[in-house]
Symmetry: C2
Subunit: 202 residues, 2 copies
């Protein structure tokens, strides 16, 4: 009964391989980008032939979409609404260390799709705007709740924050020796000071 491999196991093996390919693709995509990575490299690291890879994903492009979808699903699943904007920014550094392979994928693929004709341009533009809107909305919420001062424009600050967060991802990918924690802490603190309502020492 040891040589036996029931059908379910076969299917599970296929599924596992598929996951493996997805994981490898995610990492290589982040480090090399879509244009320069080849199916051959992904396949090799995942332990299959290029043709074998295409058994699981029908094209290179479809693989990319699968990776993005998986990433979106992950984001959705790990979204944690606890803490306010500032705390979440500060906690960002931790995420870099916990899931380094996820960091920067957005930034890297975004760059490859800056051109309005690029296939994923719209997807990334929408995503970018959604991110900015989310941040802006959160600032507005804080303002309404009286936690933040109201004399700054949420939309403007949100663009700044998004730029900083995005910039940190690429900086870190380029030079992992930067003082992540300190930078995020420093930025979030300064943000806190900006947003704090004017001298109310009750």
């Amino acid at each position: 009964m040891s040589g036996r491999r029931p059908y379910a196991t076969l299917l599970a093996k296929g599924e596992e391989r598929r996951q493996r390919i997805l994981t490898v693709a995610q990492r290589l995509l982040t480090r090399n980008g879509w244009r320069s990575i080849t199916l051959g490299q992904i396949a090799r690291e995942a332990g299959v032939s290029p043709a074998g890879l295409l058994h699981h994903f029908e094209s290179k492009e479809q693989l990319l979409h699968a990776v993005l979808d998986a990433r979106d699903a992950y984001d959705e699943a790990t979204r944690d609404p606890s803490g306010d904007l500032i705390e979440r920014i500060e906690g960002r550094a931790e995420r870099f260390r916990r899931a380094p392979d996820l960091v920067g994928m957005f930034a890297v693929l975004l760059i490859e799709n800056l051109n309005p004709d690029a296939p994923l341009h719209e997807r990334f533009l929408d995503r970018y705007r959604a991110a900015v809107d989310t941040i802006a909305e959160e600032i507005r919420r804080g303002q309404r709740a009286g936690e933040y001062r109201t004399d700054l424009d949420p939309a403007v600050k949100a663009v700044e924050i998004a730029a900083f967060l995005n910039g940190m991802e690429t900086s870190w990918l380029l030079d992992p020796s930067i003082p992540l924690t300190e930078v995020f802490r420093e930025y979030s603190r300064s943000l806190a000071r900006q947003l704090a309502p004017p001298s109310d020492d009750s």
Copy 2:
């Protein structure tokens, strides 16, 4: 006098064409990146055949280097040491409008060379570190001069500023409708408040 074209003119034409290619390459490179841009596209927009392009630049790679060198030369030439760090950051928005084709080239090519094995990785890493060091050094100068408060780490703040500046380039390339001026002004103002020595209302 009209049909005539003395040798000097011929040479001048060649040089002009070379410049034209360089300019076009710069723009297309920024929008599409190195991998996805083709000599054919650059050649077409510059009004030559691919082979004609290679008459001026011996290879695609050499063209890239020429573009980078030209960009470095431009940076060198337009470096203006007037104003302090904060003013220069605020003035950045203006540069986006004045020379839009130059904005983002660093950011885009950087991404394509994140991988330590990438041909230009070192060049970009050095450049990144030099940029951060320059900013840090300027903060230190201000601290020594008593203009800035001394209880923050220049190296940490410099990484933040670099991330923001870099992030703004990509954000703007993706979505040129963002409120550039306002964001730069808001950020530089908040930076000014951070750096200002503690309550000294003389």
